[in-house]
Amino acid sequence: MTTSVAAAPNETARAEPHRRLQGKTVLWLGAALVLISLVTASAQGAYAIAPLDILKTLWAALFGGLDGSPEQLVFMNIRLPRLLLGVAAGAGLGLSGALMQGIFRNPLADPGLIGVSSGAALAAAATIVLGSSYFPELPRTIGSWPLVLMAFAGGMAVTLLIYMLSQSEGGTRISLMLLAGIAINALAGAGLGYLNFLATDEQLRNIQFWLLGSLGGGRWSAVLLVFSIVFVAITAGLFCARPLNAIALGEAQAALLGVDVERIKRRIVLVTAMAVGAITATTGIIGFVGLLAPHCIRLVAGPDHRIVLPGSAMLGAALVLLADAVARTIVQPAELPLGVLTAFVGVPFFLLLLRQFKGRV
């Protein structure tokens, strides 16, 4: 991926084995892909609901007239919030991955690098293991909210720590942030290992399932919260597209071009931490989306962040929707963990693209 990272965005003179798709085409294709995934996923599920009934339910939900039949209850309370959570989570993870790879100018960067996932995991595991012995009544009174809030706070705290460690006289140093991120992630991993040791068998299973991710916790309240945070993050993130194109030339070059590099870094760390923190706190860890989606878009459309950022968000949403549709149906009435499937669905797709466009890597 060195070409797309180091090279200027508008490199038309270079000989290409395949022609790149136009930016607009990619975005239209992306939007269509999300729509198709949404329709496909909404028709899939353990509970048999005829497509016609889904349309009727949606119509009734919009214009009144929900009659409370079992199909409508299942669709409106379980499947629909889950689909929307999938869209928000996938879009947030895809966008954050693109932002991270852009600001780190490193193709291996993913949202986990600034510690938000490992922080959330550590806090979630601590809540699962220690919460029941110190606050045994808490889960009964406010349900699963303590876990969500603790995971979010944990992600924020660890990100802040890494951000502070990467400060030097000249401002935030990205190379410091990368190394501090790796170190703190390792530390969080050790903490997680210690909690695994303390945990009982049931707690251990709970931690494992949390780490594998699931959209099963999609209630309307959680969906609305994640959706609004991801919406703000995407809006703020898209404003970083042009500055990121300049930063691709090098931070000094970008500064010469009039980009306030420091402000962009701060904004990207904040946006990623908020979005990924909120997503991870609600769904657990959904791997690979943040890493794969930006690469796929760059392979077909080139490194222009005005395309890569929204494209990654769309591809991320479609990937999570489809993976979750498989997770929900393949072993019904049980359910596979989502984190397993994002890799199973995403990696072959990525490898296919890699073979197809190997000249560009």
């Binding site: 039949s69 079992p70 309370n77 999609g218 209630r219 019904q332 009435p333 049980a334 359910e335």
Partner: protein, 304 residues
């Protein structure tokens, strides 16, 4: 739609019928008679936990059983029911697709959100607290009886089990008196590569005490829950007997390999190869077969 999953023959046929009905029908009009029909029948049940499933079969309510979890392994017929997965990682839509009237589990079932979604959809959710006492089994029988609308049968079963239990308790008390000393027992959970031993507040601990033994891991420096087995701690604890599950011995590759584990070499139990193995669900499942299991356990723990 992946309707033909291998272990879900029953719901797939139901789903297909309902799918066809829903697709073919103009709308809900065809639905109403089908609904009225089911509500007149006995409640449809999903059980989460091997012991609870056993109670359903003992009450003769297996015809009402539309789904069980992965721990429901007995009676063998329970293996043929649709499996809703591991009880801590349930799927709301998956469960609802079985159209249950009641879901019966232990307080370990989850996630909480899924249970809430089930309640929202009008499914009765009964969670039984596991405190490893005889009362736990009584609760299981009563709760299943109520949920299955088989209260008289549940009362009869309860009376029979209580009588069994009283008899077994007396046998154990007599055995302890005649033996003079309670054997020190080490329970090993050996299902994986790194075996764990049971401390206090575990089902295994309760079973050892029921059968007139002492859980060696609660004697000095006792701990609660399970801990990895280490050679020095086992030598220091000096158990007279090792108690484990048949499945655990199999997972270790047979009795020979089980005893070859270095952690056990310095224990009194090792010298006599004093091992009691019982089926895992019987031993730590806290189901209605508990009196027989305690009797068998007591009879096998004879100090030489």
């Amino acid at each position: 739609m992946m309707k033909n999953t291998p272990h879900a023959p029953q719901p797939s046929s139901i789903n297909r019928r309902q799918l066809l009905a829903a697709a073919g029908a103009a709308s809900a009009s065809l639905w109403l008679p089908a609904h009225a029909q089911t509500s007149a029948k006995l409640p449809r049940l999903v059980t989460l936990g091997g012991a609870i499933t056993e109670v359903v079969y003992m009450l003769g309510a297996e015809g009402q059983l539309v789904g069980t979890d992965t721990t429901s392994l007995f009676p063998p017929a329970a293996l043929q029911t649709p499996k809703v997965g591991y009880m801590r990682a349930l799927s709301a839509e998956g469960l609802l697709s079985l159209k249950p009237d009641a879901v019966i589990g232990t307080t370990e079932a989850g996630p909480v959100v899924v249970l809430d979604q089930l309640r929202t959809a009008g499914v009765r959710v009964d969670l039984i607290e596991a405190d490893h006492t005889w009362a736990e089994i009584q609760r299981k029988v009563q709760v299943v009886g109520r949920a299955a609308a088989r209260v008289p049968q549940a009362q009869a079963l309860q009376a029979k089990l209580d009588a069994d239990w009283a008899a077994v308790q007396k046998e154990v008390a007599d055995a302890v008196k005649s033996r003079g000393r309670k054997p020190k027992v080490l329970f090993i959970l050996a299902h994986g590569a790194s075996p764990q031993v049971a401390g206090g507040k575990t089902a295994a601990d309760a079973m050892i005490n029921f059968a007139g033994g002492i859980n060696v891991m609660t004697v000095s420096n006792g701990f609660n829950g399970y801990r990895p087995m280490t050679a020095e701690a086992m030598a220091a604890a000096a158990p007279d007997f090792v108690l484990t599950s048949t499945q655990g011995v199999e997972a270790q590759g047979g009795l020979e390999k089980f005893w070859a584990r270095p952690e056990l070499a310095l224990t009194p139990a090792f010298k006599k190869r004093a091992l009691v193995q019982l089926d895992a669900l019987e031993l730590i499942g806290f189901g209605p077969r508990l009196p027989q299991t305690v009797r068998a356990l007591c009879q096998q723990m004879v100090l030489a």
